[in-house]
């Protein structure tokens, strides 16, 4: 709704943004002036912040995103201090101190690009949770082995295995490429 209001004054062309002739919204040098209905819809939620552009999708929200350097609204409200700075901004920018320049930036924007792109350290919490999960799973498996699994069959031991192999050799099982092919029948031992 509000997005359509803002979007109506601009083109959704991929190339050159032109403005369609629209009677309800007029753009002037810095401030978008809205008709009363749109204003009532958007403004209470916005506080005292001015709408300055199209933003990411036409809605009057502030979003920090590296792909959209210019959000639709300024970040901070237009307090008297900010307005005084804006007056000073109309003059020579070299006359602004570094502090004032930073203030101006932070009045319009929340995070700098460096801050947007900064690592969050989230990988540490993710890795630790994953490792803790694996640790608990290990204990769970141990418990299952001790308390849940039945005993191994009596056939699982070395002697039984050896006599089984002996039997396979005696009956010439897999004589071409398997067990019996590895047995030397003349000598009575493995090849």
């Amino acid at each position: 709704m509000a997005g359509r209001q803002l979007a109506r004054t601009a083109i959704i062309a991929c190339r050159l943004p032109q403005r369609s002739i629209c009677t309800s919204t007029v753009c002037r040098s810095d401030q978008v002036q809205l008709d009363p209905q749109t204003r009532d819809k958007i403004y209470p939620k916005l506080g005292n912040r001015e709408i300055v552009g199209y933003g990411m999708n036409g809605t009057a929200h502030y979003i920090d995103h590296t792909d959209f350097p210019c959000p639709a609204i300024r970040f901070k409200e237009n307090t008297p201090e900010v307005l005084a700075l804006r007056e000073k901004e109309k003059g020579e920018w070299k006359a602004l101190t570094l502090e004032e320049k930073k203030e101006l930036y932070r009045a319009s924007f929340c995070q700098t690009y460096a801050e947007m792109n900064a690592p969050t350290g989230e990988w540490k919490s993710i890795t630790s949770i994953v490792l803790m999960g694996m640790f608990l799973t290990g204990w769970l498996l141990l418990w299952i082995k001790v308390y849940v699994y039945p005993d191994l069959p009596k056939t699982i031991n070395r002697e039984w295995q050896e006599s089984e192999v002996r039997r396979m050799i005696d009956m010439r099982a897999a004589p071409v490429e398997g067990v019996s092919s590895k047995w030397d029948y003349e000598k009575g031992e493995w090849k």
Partner: protein
Amino acid sequence: MFRIAQRVGSTVQCVVRNNIQKSSAAVFVRHSHGKQESDEDFDNRYEAYFNRPDIDGWELRKAMNDLQGMDMVPEPRIIIAALKACRKLNDFALAVRYLEAVQEKCGSRKNEIWPYLEQEIRPTLDSLGILTPEEMGYGKPELAIQDVYSM
């Protein structure tokens, strides 16, 4: 654009004839909508757009957002035109923001591309009094924001 197509044909029997035909029709076909414009035209268009005397904040920001969405680093003259438009609109923060955005477009090759760009726009920066993000102290993060998921 136009390409000259050559076709060589030959007859079946002993006589071999070379037919060289020139066709002036555009042989290569791009199945996109409209004609592709050249880089030069694109740069001119955007530079002219930013240099418009009656540009307003809304249009400036929209153009910056659009440029950011394209798979390219803007030419120095486009950047200069954008900075001058910021000066016209008395918005210092936007100028610095746009410089940061251009650095972002350089991507992983920022160390190769940004020094060249900075060298090209340095006269404009000095005359308008715009600081680069590094000079502002915004090369590294300054403030931290609380993670919304742990509020």
